[in-house]
Amino acid sequence: MSTTAVDAKSALKAQFPAVTDRASLDWPAVNVPVAEVVAALKYLRDTLGFDTLTDLTAVDWAEGASPRFTVVYHLYSTVHPGYFRVATDCPDDAEPAVPTVVELWPAANWHERECYDLLGVKFTGHPDLRRILMWEGYPYHPLRKEFPLAGIEVPLPDAEIAAETGTKVLPAPMAGGPFVASPGEINLTEAEPRAKDESWNERKAKPE
């Protein structure tokens, strides 16, 4: 951890009293209230030399948690090499939204689109908030914790092709596994998707 990065943290906290420390195992990290996040990032960029937005993402703390979504910005400085992590909690758990930073960094454009696409966090003021990795019209946000690993059955994106072929986007077999571990306190029978699939065994052949 370079000294300049530590200085940046105290300078930021002096400028914005509402900023608090965030637990981190590597780079300096702060929690910023959502109302001040754009101003704080602007200050970091213009005054403290963190000129690159290297990553923008969000973390889903699972259904029932409050705050449920945290948007995390990783800044990098090409002036004094080092990273800085800024996190902000989305105030609304059902309709998470934070202000956009496209005005500060055009790089945020695609990052925010991805974050909206996969986690459903809205970025207010974004010029072009469309889905980017999933197709337009996809009904779910797949990186949310309640979305199953195997996926959910949905119609094909093109209605014409769907009508012609009669196919759908189907969930993966074996609960999206086989993976031997699942997070949380579940027993091995539940954790092991191969054990769940009882459509075939030693006497009955595996279906093609």
Binding site: D55, V59, R85, P106, W110
Partner: protein, 410 residues
């Protein structure tokens, strides 16, 4: 005295034509399967004659949900998935991922592991750039480069196969070390490869550097200013081509890169030709690093001996609980037990800075693993760069970006 010849600027004159005679704009879709798009990228273009007025890259055709998958498996199980990010440099991805997890586990790896990782990552860089140059050459009409660069790449793949057992998807790095030690004489063969590669590299680059057709297609095409490169989060050769002197191997050294002497090439103009020159020079510098690493190849273990202690079970339970007793088994089924916390690590990959942001709540499975993909960020500048250029220049620009869709879409 002959009269002075002037060539009328027809393009400028078209603006004077009254609106009712103007032609309408045409939209053209390039890709998702098009030889010049280097994978399943689709460019939705709006054309005025042959000049682009709008470009909208449509990505996601190769989205496999790697981040979702990572949340459902142990840290060790995810290593093979990192091969499939930038599938032209899997060794470099393996290394970036394992360093990120080691950072979370606060695990220090021995010098030999670091040296092996540096050698493999630099070999991966050379192989990725060879592929990038070859494909770039084909895009702008120079077929021969591809043949020469693929011959060299094949030699590298032989070395990879000998080391990892696989040519393409290596899965070589492990958390706390590498999968196996280097075979006997392997470093010697790497050194021999480097010696014979340098003159061939000069030959390959000579096919392009002063090639009139190549320079006509690339010089002053697709210019990215230094400010734009920083604002759009460009990394790797694409940022350095625009004159941003940033290289994570120098700026935030990892895996012992601070021990090696090498230079960071930067471009002056930021056009396609500069990006090509940077890649060419980077291969020379990679060979320089490999030769140093091979020369001072350290002895010792090829895995961190304390790795098991870090993943150790709770002491108090060893005599009362079956699971704690059979620790090796539990390491496989439940994964290495990591502390809670969050880390972010970026490595200088051939395509740019590959980052892993890991949020752990403790246990053997990450709560959230975000992959910061350099190709994704590099491609986000396309709508800006392509506007105003000719359709044929778009092909040169895409070639000079050297992206991989497996990494962009994850």
């Amino acid at each position: 005295m002959p009269p002075e010849l002037t060539i009328p600027d027809t393009a400028a004159k078209t603006a004077e034509i009254p609106a009712e005679f103007q032609t309408e704009k045409m939209s053209l879709s390039m890709g998702p399967s098009h030889p010049s798009t280097h994978g399943v990228l689709r460019l939705q273009m709006e054309l005025d004659g042959e000049i682009l007025t709008k470009a909208d890259p449509i990505v996601g055709y190769l989205h496999r949900g790697d981040e979702k998958i990572a949340e459902n498996m142990t840290y060790n199980q995810f290593v093979p998935y990192t091969d499939r990010l930038d599938y032209l440099a899997p060794l470099a991805n393996n290394m970036a991922y394992s360093i990120a997890v080691e950072k979370l586990a606060k695990l220090e790896v021995p010098a030999r592991v670091k040296a092996i990782r540096v050698i493999t990552a630099e070999l991966a860089r050379v192989s990725s750039h060879l592929m990038g140059l070859g494909a770039f050459g084909i895009d702008v009409g120079a077929w021969t480069v591809f043949l020469y660069s693929f011959t060299e790449r094949e030699k590298l793949y032989k070395l990879f196969e000998e080391l990892t057992g696989a040519r393409f998807t290596t899965s070589y790095a492990r958390i706390g070390g590498v999968a196996r030690d280097v075979p006997e004489g392997w470093t010697q063969r790497v050194d021999e490869f480097c010696d014979q590669f340098l003159p061939i590299l000069e030959n390959i680059l000579n096919l392009l550097t002063r090639n009139k057709i190549f320079t006509d297609r690339t010089v002053d095409v697709g210019i990215i200013s230094k400010e734009d490169a920083i604002a759009y989060g460009l990394t790797g050769p694409n940022a350095r081509g625009s004159g941003v002197k940033t290289d994570l191997r120098k700026d935030t050294p990892y895996s012992g890169y601070e021990q090696y002497e090498f230079d960071v090439p930067v471009g002056t103009k930021g056009d396609c030709y500069d990006r090509y020159l940077v890649r060419g020079e980077e291969m020379r510098q990679s060979v320089r690093i490999i030769k140093q690493a091979v020369k001072h190849f350290p002895p010792g273990p090829w895995y961190a001996p304390e790795a098991k202690r870090i993943y150790a079970p709770q002491k108090a339970k060893v005599l009362s609980s079956m699971e704690e007793l059979i620790q090796n088994f539990m390491l496989v089924t439940e994964g290495p037990q990591m502390p809670a916390g969050e880390v972010y690590f970026e490595a200088e990959n051939p395509k740019g800075a590959l980052g892993f942001y890991i949020v752990s709540k403790g246990g053997g499975v990450p709560w959230r693993l975000k992959i910061r993909s350099p190709s994704f960020c590099n491609l986000s500048i396309l709508p800006k760069v392509c506007v105003g250029s000719l359709v044929s220049d778009v092909v040169a620009i895409l070639g000079s970006f050297d992206f991989v869709m497996g990494e962009c879409d994850r």
